[in-house]
């Protein structure tokens, strides 16, 4: 291989990738970092203003609303999505007829464009003609909840839709994790007289701790990226009450064209995401350490 690795050949192989990546990913990150510290208004020269944009954001109550909404979605996702997808993976592991097809079907929502997912769910959650409230009214509920468009349930509805679209993905990761469990441990515990429930509780779950951690981290990273669902379901309204971090950042940057605070907002979102990613790497490092 050495004599095929002349310097000019290496350059041809690596430079296109490096150029694309540097110009359209790395440079933009530093661009955002830099302009988050200026009073840039989209044209002309920008003055350095230190952390003023960050303090503007921190004094904006809607920033905290969007953070709170994202936190609500995050907590709901972790509390509902993780157990539900794990349970589903356990069910799917039993050898009933059609299990393979069901696994594929449950995964299907995950490949639908998020912008279309949001639209589809408008027809399910709309308070007047949506499926859920139609069913509730038919069941005799006098005033069914205002899932979208009201002031309270916005983030919860967004969480429901997010859970719907991520369920199959999380289930698939758990399913793959279950396949990796050593069968002899299962057999041993079965021989010792453990019931299915006891096996799951005392053998499967402890052995799958890493899979749980990885799935949780992936779900959290995806929660930080929720944008299209908000756009379609509530538009962030009423009066920005249902914005998430990204949707409100989009509004600040592109609708109200406050580029300085918008860039600061993007930097904050990136840092929050990076913290989660570092945690993820830390977990993987820990696993390697255990195995070695």
């Amino acid at each position: 291989m050495v004599w095929l690795s002349a310097r000019w050949k290496l350059l041809i192989m690596v430079v296109p990738t490096l150029a694309f990546f540097t110009i359209f990913v790395v440079y933009p990150v530093f661009y955002s970092l830099y302009y988050s510290l200026t009073d840039f208004i989209g044209f002309g020269t920008a003055q350095f203003v230190g952390l003023a944009n960050y303090s503007t954001l921190f004094t904006d109550p809607l920033f905290w609303t969007s953070l709170r909404n994202t936190a609500i979605i995050l907590v709901m996702s972790v509390l509902v999505l993780i157990p539900l997808s794990f349970l589903l993976a356990i069910l799917m592991r039993r050898q009933f007829r059609g299990a393979r097809i069901l696994r594929a079907l449950v995964f299907a929502p995950g490949i639908i464009a998020p912008i279309l997912v949001g639209l589809i769910w408008v027809f399910i959650l709309d308070p007047k003609f949506g499926l859920v409230n139609a069913l509730l009214s038919a069941a005799g509920v006098a005033s069914p909840p205002i899932w979208i468009g009201g002031s309270a349930l916005g983030p919860i509805s967004i969480a429901i839709v997010f859970i719907w679209s991520t369920l199959g993905f999380a289930m698939t990761i758990f399913y793959a994790g279950l396949q990796l469990l050593p069968p002899d441990v299962m057999e041993a515990s079965a021989l010792d007289g453990a019931s299915r429930f006891q096996q799951t509780r005392y053998v499967t779950i402890p052995m799958m701790r890493e899979t749980f951690a990885i799935t949780t981290v992936l779900v959290i990273t995806n929660v930080f990226k929720i944008f299209e669902l908000v756009y379609q379901l509530t538009g962030g309204g009423p009066i920005h009450k249902s914005e998430t971090l990204v949707s409100y950042m989009y509004f600040i940057t592109f609708t109200s064209q406050q580029y300085g605070p918008g860039m600061a907002f993007a930097v904050i979102i990136t840092i929050l995401g990076a913290i989660v990613s570092v945690g993820y790497l830390f977990l993987l490092r820990g696993r390697r350490g255990v195995n070695a």
């Binding site: 291989m1 095929l4 690795s5 290496l10 192989m13 690596v14 296109p16 990738t17 490096l18 694309f20 990546f21 110009i23 359209f24 990913v25 933009p28 990150v29 955002s32 069910l91 039993r94 009933f96 299990a99 069901l102 594929a104 079907l105 995964f107 299907a108 929502p109 995950g110 490949i111 639908i112 464009a113 998020p114 912008i115 279309l116 639209l119 589809i120 027809f123 007047k128 003609f129 499926l131 139609a134 719907w164 369920l167 993905f169 698939t172 990761i173 793959a176 990885i214 930080f224 944008f227 299209e228 990204v246 940057t253 592109f254 918008g262 993007a266 979102i269 990136t270 995401g273 990076a274």
Partner: protein, 289 residues
């Protein structure tokens, strides 16, 4: 096997069968609930708008009116044409250059090996960057490069943002893959280009399929870049068109559901065809760690 054991087996099996049955029923129920929203819009898309608004549960009649309405008003040809154009060009470029750099980073000999692993980490670091921090700067870069308003304004960032994932998958594959065949080809006198094209590329077909399909889905479903980089209706993509349905049809829900169904069906058909690669592509990072 003793007589007692022989008698015990059926009972254990019967218990197992009952467990499987319960699990199966539960799994079918959950799957049904998951798919219900999709069935629902498909069913309602054949109802008149008045019937949907007055009582969505009362299904009467069956009409193609909403579909005729959509086919005459939605520029399906334009938006699919644009989306396919963007997907094909950006995924082709992205896959080729990621393949080249991944091969170099995993196999070729750098004078400083630290530099080699450094470049790989540099590219992988992109996995942690949310695209939202790139939106506005990419818009400025597009303007500076003079490509704003052209397809290149989207193709260039699409290629760039898929590089980290492609690098993760391709270098990972090459690292786990023995290089004997390549060495044999080199001994037989193959040059670098021949080696890549006729030896390595065919070997990597499965992982390249995963990369291709994952990237195509990304470009097809992409909305944030499209929403700020396209300002010309003739360049509309599928995602952009979907984002405008609510404004366009305001209260014509029947038409909106028909339009959603029309866009949903090809996506689901493609998923059905490539289900294995799609699932692999979307979960490989998580499962392999």
């Amino acid at each position: 096997m003793t007589a007692a054991e022989v008698r015990r087996v059926p009972r254990a099996r019967r218990k197992r069968t009952r467990g499987v049955l319960i699990a199966g029923i539960a799994a079918y129920l959950i799957t049904f609930v998951v798919l219900l929203p999709l069935f629902w819009i498909a069913v309602l898309s054949f109802q008149s708008n008045n019937s949907i608004l007055s009582d969505p549960l009362s299904l009467h009649g069956f009409s193609w009116a909403n579909y005729i309405n959509v086919f005459t008003r939605v520029p399906l040809l334009t938006m699919y044409g644009n989306t396919i154009l963007l997907a094909v060009t950006s995924v082709t470029i992205g896959t080729i250059i990621s393949f080249m750099s991944s091969f170099a980073l995993a196999r070729m000999v750098f004078r400083w090996p630290k530099f080699q692993s450094g470049i790989r980490l540099y590219l992988l670091a992109g996995l942690a960057i949310p695209i939202y921090i790139l939106l506005f700067p990419v818009y400025r870069v597009d303007i500076a490069l003079g490509v704003f308003g052209t397809y290149a304004s989207l193709i260039l960032p699409y290629v760039a943002v898929t590089i980290p994932f492609n690098t993760l998958l391709l270098t990972g594959f090459l690292r786990d893959f023995p290089s004997e065949l390549e060495e044999a080809a080199i001994v037989d006198g193959a040059g670098l280009w021949r080696l890549c094209w006729s030896v390595v590329l065919p070997l990597m077909r499965p992982v390249l399929a995963t990369v291709l399909i994952f990237n195509v889905i990304y470009v097809f479903n992409e909305y944030p870049f499209v929403s700020i980089l396209i300002n010309n209706p003739s360049m509309t993509t599928v995602s952009l068109a979907v984002s405008q349905f609510q404004g366009q049809y305001s209260t014509d829900y029947g038409a909106m559901m028909a339009a959603s169904t029309i866009i949903l069906i090809p996506q689901l058909v493609i998923y059905a065809l490539f289900q294995k690669q799609v699932v692999a592509g979307m979960t490989v990072g998580a499962v392999k760690g």
